[in-house]
Symmetry: C2
Subunit: 267 residues, 2 copies
């Protein structure tokens, strides 16, 4: 069951290091949280290798979907295996062109540490024709912002510090402007003593009563006091008070049922 | 550039909690590492919502790919939003049928804690027609193993402890039997003092000289001693000694170049 919002977002993570398990994908979780809090319905994540054809496939698939927003991370650096912009250009049927503004910023950054431009550094300024550079306040590889028909594509670096800096200084503002102006409300609590399978019929009924509220139960370990379940109840609405009331109503019903069944609640 | 192996694997992670950033996807990294060490080329990851249509899309896409192995996690529990097996059955054009062996195991597990079967618990024993249950040694929801034409599909729970237990007791053995019998060799080291963009031309040449070795550079922070880069050099081969020699050769060339340029190496 997806959130109420009709504004879908996809996240694309690029890098072999994610697929071979060298690096855990914290960028996707961070972006998913940010997009959700901005009212977007994060619908899908794609983890792609550094292969151009795979990257092209990922962006073509996202461009053919209902996603209004596509955010990618990774593959923007100076080395031979940083191929994201080539893949994006192919998916958009565009060419890569040298962006003078980006090149000037890259040149200045290297100049400051006593280095001059070389082909690897110039490569980072070659972006798809319709792209606009996003300034990287903490690293060298710029991000890229592309609008294509009704879609907004943000291509960000994979280094978490750089990705977050570009997101917070530039992407977030754009997402607020084009976004659904929706409030995302959530409440988490823990129930001890009742197995998840004891609750399925009740939560099923509750979801039918409140279809716009999302109830997720995460079974944790079983300890001496019995099975532990973490509940996460969420709702989205253009009206903050309405979303808050929905979540409160569902949490109250859930807790009452759990306590009747003998559970202990921890908030 | 992908690994030498022709045995592709896809990983599918199911659960809204991953997309909204409530949970970081550690399962994908864990499975990616395991599959890589077993000689598979982990080619793609899909992160899907708990929606049946999204799950069906994910499995249809993977079934239509070159993947020999598909491993999924999540959505096998007793609650209304655990829909993975419905989505898998739809993608396979199969029905869900009650598996008597699974049902008996689930019944026994609940009996031990003084509970009887109910619709939510019986649901966990309904698996696609061609599926075989995988015993869950630490939880209640069984996994499912399906072979379809040349593909091997492993459907595992999302709770990391349960996923790992089923993988290590049953899946790993099957993957070894059907696998490429390939050795994956890796070496990691850190270079301090040289920016990544200084090395691109050299690593580019090195990769052309040794096309079956994969060199990945991960830029880390810049500290007073200069930019820090972590290198990860990997190779796969049916011959362990051959893969080791390749990695050693490339690491030696890389380190020699870095030291010439003035970098400090930390192993």
């Amino acid at each position: 069951m997806s959130q109420a919002s009709g504004y879908e977002a996809w996240i694309i993570s690029i890098g072999n290091e994610l697929l071979i398990g060298k690096v855990t994908n914290t960028n996707l979780a961070w972006l998913g949280r940010k997009l959700t809090l901005l009212g977007y319905n994060v619908r899908r994540g794609l983890i792609l290798s550094d292969d151009i054809e795979d990257i092209e496939w990922g962006f073509r698939t996202a461009l053919g979907s209902n996603a209004k927003v596509i955010v990618s991370t990774g593959g923007l650096g100076p080395t031979f295996d940083d191929k994201t912009l080539e893949g994006v250009a192919a998916a958009l049927d565009e060419k890569l062109v040298l962006n003078e503004k980006s090149l000037e910023e890259i040149r200045k950054k290297y100049e400051r540490i006593g280095l001059s431009l070389n082909p690897a550094r110039i490569k980072m300024a070659r972006i798809p024709e319709s792209g606009k550079p996003l300034y990287n306040p903490v690293g060298t590889a710029p991000g890229v912002y592309i609008t294509k028909s009704d879609k907004h594509i943000f291509v960000l670096p994979g280094v978490p510090k750089e990705m977050k800096a570009i997101f917070e200084t530039q992407v977030e503002r754009i997402l607020k402007e084009i976004g659904p102006k929706i409030f995302f409300i959530e409440k988490t609590f823990t129930s001890i003593g009742i197995p998840e399978s004891e609750l399925a019929l009740f939560t099923n009924r509750l979801v039918r009563e409140e279809p716009s509220v999302y109830i997720k139960s995460h079974p944790k370990c079983v300890e001496s006091r019995g099975p532990i379940i973490e509940f996460h109840v969420t709702a989205s609405s253009r009206n903050r008070r309405e979303a808050e009331e929905k979540v409160e109503r569902v949490v109250e019903k859930l807790m009452r049922y759990l306590i009747e069944k003998g559970a202990v609640i921890e908030e």
